[in-house]
Assembly symmetry: C2
Homo-oligomer: 519 residues x 2
């Protein structure tokens, strides 16, 4: 009797496991289809920004819209509801990856379902018109062209927040889309510390009588040579050109179609050396992250970088912590001299100082490592007020200029170099900007741990061995894809929560060393 | 009373027209979705052959399979059956384009539906394995690797013919897929005349003591210069680089994503001049055809070249009739001299003779203008016998070598330069080959009419004005897309059915002029 019951239980368990296993295969095949659509959309977009003949724009937009609609249909399909229902009681039986995969599927489904379809479709049109209006406004440097469109976008974003719901702060809901777990409460502290620390350091630098120039980066740098040098640097970094490419677009970006097809773009300027190279290194950081994601995460939607903040931590780690270090240029300056006769007489110190030249400026994407975060903090403060209704779109020109004056001591002379410079608001990406500054903070915190694990890492870099950095980042960050939240990940790696101390220490160490002789 | 009936009728008609109009819009929107999928598939394929990182092949094939499945589902969907049913009684009320569009939709639907889905899916796997086996076989020059796969492909093709049905000859059914209206009965006559005429001319040339060499095309021709020269030639031809591109792939091809995005590829050899350029001109002919298709044919599936034969007539017209003419090089040789110092002392006559050098050879894609059609006729005769069961796959090596010996006087020393040279059989494209030779025949027939309409056309070409040729082809061929069948089109243009006389006259005139002093 006992025996027979035992057998029944056993058989029951086996059956249950089999059923779960089968359903997991089914889910993964379904998610695999979504991933295939995402890859096709990715290629259509990449091509549009790189090689597409210009007369094909309308046609291409039509194809992109159609496939995006199919992707949306799959993400919100009845099949997904069935999967969620099936796994509701079985979550404990799943391993970590499968569990997070199902949670992820459910969160996307719920979020999308909360917005009425008509509202969403209205918004797609509004956002698309708003992007076009922004482009025109930026070209003519006239905010009034963009204003009515931005007002609509903000109105819809606020409405979406109401649909999605919020706890403490409306803006939290938007932040969470780009950096899970991040809230206004946390960011006010993090960015407050960052702002105070950077402004203090900036004032010291202003009072330094150390003269630094980046004139050596102006001259004649043939595009072909820049491209070859970029590729040589990327290869040394560990970017795999059999699983990726480097091309040219107006604005640099990284786009992957899975970890075996990761595409970077940069933009070369014949008369300037550092811009394209630093873009290549930055995008290379994003790209290496994606290339390192294990194949086992295919068909789970977890096979990609976990958040924009963690992604930026990798790109900015390579761009700034590595790519602007003296050790990096100890190795690469002699190589650069082979490509660019302009550097014939340049010393390592001159080069190192030039690439770390600090000057408060108006344009975020051209900012130096030190002042960059201030550009982000300004945008964060504005977004927060806007979404919470404390300011209106009409207040933006005034608020923008006031904050630039206050934090950076500079004032835009027109809208194009002021609040029209970035596209993020035009397409409604509110909550995105903080990622960039979070990336700086995460990155320095990781550096601190890396130096404990590998005290000789910069010595390695100085002889052109970047594989130690790469292996450490792969092991600690890349190989996990989106399995852990950003919060879990940084805690797993460093043993503590996000902490601005490391980034501020790093900045102070570095820049007080460069800008000596503080008055 | 009369009045009210009239009104009723009138209202009835209005209602009918409105209903038809609405349904037409619905069909076009549906076909538009299919076209969007086709464009996405096109880009994924183009990218795979040009820029895709090699490690991404498996992933890319997965995406292509998924989208092809979606395209197949739309093409055979219930919605299509509804459309066909609706228009069954209304065909007379449709204008020409709409009528052909619906007929087209129905033919595709019927043909696809006739094959049981399982059979089709089995075949997809078989064809894909067969392609891989062919690649390996070609590399190792070993037909035995490919043989069992080809046997399966042929078996399925024969089975498909039985599902589709046939009247006179089984092979007709396959021919019709590439060239509507063409049959074995017609081709036996056309290709018989062609074979006899060409072999006769070839024998005369063999007996000429005129010494011609194409040594001037061997040397050092930097890829960058070849690319620039190709682009200059294509621009002169009228290829629009704002609606198209020229890139590099292993085998040259043309692929369009609508008339505003037409992509050509070529393949440069640093040590040979003519191969890449003639490929560029050939693909340019295909490309200009697609670029000239009017926007009004979007969303009808008629917005593309009507058949492979007519398409080849355009590419071969540009490659041979224009691109190998003395007038073309009267204009372009001085330009070529600027790009390639090798041509410094080359005279126009030397160049013209070199580019029209005739020599029977083993490889179709490297054949000269005169012997090319014989390569095709050999393949036609073999396919016809194979599909009708008169020979078996095992007979192919023998039959192939016999025919090459008989028609061209050459014999392959291995399988790679024999029956393994082309991919067409590996993926089951039986019925495709004849298009190439039909293109030659159509082209010369069009030339005859063009010379009547524009007697000075070659004088124009000799001063670099190719717009007359382009305009004539656009007006007579390109602008019609797939509205007319190949048969209708050639009749509309030239007033008669396909006729080999013009091509044979053209060849005789040209080559007896070059190879003078026939013994």
């Amino acid at each position: 009797m006992d025996n027979s019951i035992q057998n029944e239980n056993k058989n029951g368990d086996v059956k249950m496991n089999l059923e779960i296993k089968e359903k997991l295969n089914e889910v993964k095949s379904y998610i695999g289809d979504i991933e295939k659509l995402t890859k096709a959309i990715g290629l259509l977009y990449w091509d549009m920004k790189t090689y597409m003949p210009k007369k094909s724009l309308d046609s291409r937009v039509g194809v992109l819209e159609y496939l995006s609609e199919q992707e949306f249909k799959l993400t919100t399909g009845e099949k997904v509801a069935e999967f969620i229902e099936f796994f509701k009681g079985e979550m404990k039986q799943l391993d970590l990856v499968d569990k997070v995969m199902i949670e992820n599927l459910k969160r996307n489904y719920d979020e999308t379902k909360k917005i009425p379809k008509d509202k969403y479709l209205e918004y797609v049109v509004i956002a698309s018109k708003s992007e076009a209006a922004w482009e025109e406004a930026k070209e003519k440097s006239d905010f009034s062209i963009f204003k009515p469109h931005l007002e609509k976008v903000v109105e819809y974003q606020k409405e979406f927040v109401n649909y999605w719901g919020y706890k403490e702060n409306k803006y939290d809901t938007l932040l969470d889309k780009y950096e899970k777990g991040i809230t206004v409460e946390k960011l006010d502290v993090i960015f407050g510390e960052l702002r105070d620390g950077i402004v203090e350091l900036l004032n010291k630098i202003k009072n330094s009588n150390k003269k630094i120039s980046k004139d050596i980066f102006s001259g004649k740098f043939p595009v072909e040579a820049q491209e070859k040098f970029s590729i040589e640097v990327l290869k040394k970094m560990g970017f795999d050109f059999e699983a990726g490419r480097l091309d040219v677009s107006v604005h640099p970006f990284t786009l992957d179609m899975g970890s075996h097809d990761v595409r970077l773009t940069t933009h070369y300027y014949e008369n300037e050396f550092s811009s394209a190279l630093l873009s290549s290194i930055h995008e290379g950081g994003h790209g290496i992250y994606e290339q390192d994601i294990p194949d086992s995460l295919e068909n789970t939607k977890l096979g990609t970088g976990v958040s924009m903040g963690i992604h930026e931590s990798q790109s900015r780690f390579y761009e700034n912590i590595v790519g602007r270090s003296k050790e990096f240029w100890t190795y690469f300056l002699p190589l650069a001299k082979k490509y660019f006769p302009e550097f014939k007489d340049t010393t390592l110190d001159e080069f190192y100082e030039a690439i770390n030249y600090v000057k408060p400026s108006l344009i975020r994407t051209e900012a130096d490592e030190l002042t960059y975060s201030l550009h982000i903090i300004i945008r964060y403060e504005i977004e927060k007020s806007l979404i919470n209704g404390e300011i209106e779109v009409g207040d933006l020109p005034r608020v923008w200029n006031e904050k630039y004056k206050e934090y950076l001591g500079v004032e835009p002379s027109n809208d194009a170099e002021g609040l029209l410079q970035d596209m993020h608001w035009a397409d409604g990406s509110f909550g995105y900007f903080p990622s960039y500054a979070l990336g700086n903070v995460y990155g320095a915190q990781m550096l601190n741990k890396l130096l404990q694990d590998e005290p000789n890492i910069f010595k390695e870099i100085s002889v052109g061995n970047l594989s130690g950095v790469h292996e450490w980042l792969k092991e600690n960050v890349h190989k996990h894809g989106s399995i852990y939240t950003p919060e879990e990940l940084i805690k797993n790696i460093t043993g503590e929560e996000i902490n601005t101390k490391y980034f501020l220490d790093y900045l102070n160490n570095k820049y007080l060393n460069i800008y000596t002789n503080i008055l």
